[in-house]
């Protein structure tokens, strides 16, 4: 029984590894030659976390200065837009351009209303961090029992 269970355990380990590989398959496809960062087709990849009173959003925006980015919030609607200009230096011959340029706009409908006056946005190392505090009405409340 002992060994059987560990075998199953190992099998599940292999399965999750395979699943991980398969999940990453699409990302790798065609990457080495024709991969574009995706400004032309899609928008930057984002992560959204929920954390009690706040939502936290992270977005990959390498090479963008804070002047290049716009963040708009209304109720539970969030819009991030920006442009990345061409960096091709004068007098240089181009060998490879994979990092896309152009403008993007991405909008989100968040699960709850946001208090737009308290939103904090930070740009660090090519990642945009947004801390979005929930509106008073949407915050979790503790109800005391009488």
């Amino acid at each position: 029984m002992y060994t059987r269970l560990s075998d199953i355990d190992r099998l599940f380990g292999n399965m999750s590894l395979l699943q991980k590989r398969l999940n990453n398959l699409y990302d790798d496809y065609g990457r080495s030659s024709g991969y574009k960062w995706g400004f032309e087709h899609t928008s930057p990849r984002t992560n959204l976390y929920e954390n009690g009173d706040n939502f936290e959003l992270k977005a990959e925006v390498p090479g963008l200065a804070k002047e290049d980015l716009n963040v708009k919030i209304q109720g539970n609607y969030l819009e991030i837009s920006g442009t990345r200009g061409s960096e091709t230096p004068e007098g240089y011959k181009t060998h490879k351009i994979e990092r896309g340029t152009g403008s993007f706009s991405r909008s989100f409908t968040l699960p709850a209303d946001i208090d737009s006056s308290k939103v904090e946005a930070t740009l660090k190392d090519g990642v945009l961090y947004l801390v979005l505090p929930k509106h008073e009405a949407a915050k979790p409340k503790k109800i005391s029992i009488n």
């Binding site: 976390y49 954390n51 992270k58 960096e87 190392d125 090519g126």
Partner: protein
């Protein structure tokens, strides 16, 4: 022994592995002029101290590890911690001593100057 402990117990022979980082190739731009080769690589979220640039035997390898602090429960995730790895062949004419690298806004910029001997030289034609 209790049945629940039986199920959760792991075989001691099983080797515990460290968390595997997903490896990916960063998108790069490569430019060249008479004096140098320029390489720009997108590495959002990678800190300076987690980047390695090596030139060895005609191979330039860049790698960078991103570790993001996560707070709260993910509603959705489109990117995770990652290791950016990519190798390039560089011509022998690169002056390895003078290679410079800078990191700004998640973009790694490498300057690979060509050695003096490799630069094109205009030969003046003398008229007799």
């Amino acid at each position: 022994m209790d049945k629940t402990t039986d199920i959760t117990k792991k075989e001691t022979k099983n080797i515990e592995k460290t968390h595997e980082l997903y490896e990916t190739a960063p998108a790069v731009d490569i430019y060249e002029n008479e004096n140098e080769i320029l390489l720009h690589a997108d590495m959002p979220g990678v800190l300076k101290e987690n980047i390695n640039v090596d030139i060895d035997n005609g191979t330039l390898s860049i790698s960078g590890i991103r570790k993001l602090k996560i707070k709260g429960t993910p509603t959705y995730e489109e990117f995770t911690d990652v290791e950016y790895v990519r190798n390039f062949s560089v011509p022998q004419t690169i002056d390895v001593e003078k290679v410079e690298a800078e990191l700004k806004d998640g973009v790694l910029r490498l300057h690979l100057p060509k050695s003096e001997a490799a630069k094109p030289r205009q030969i003046e034609i003398k008229t007799a």
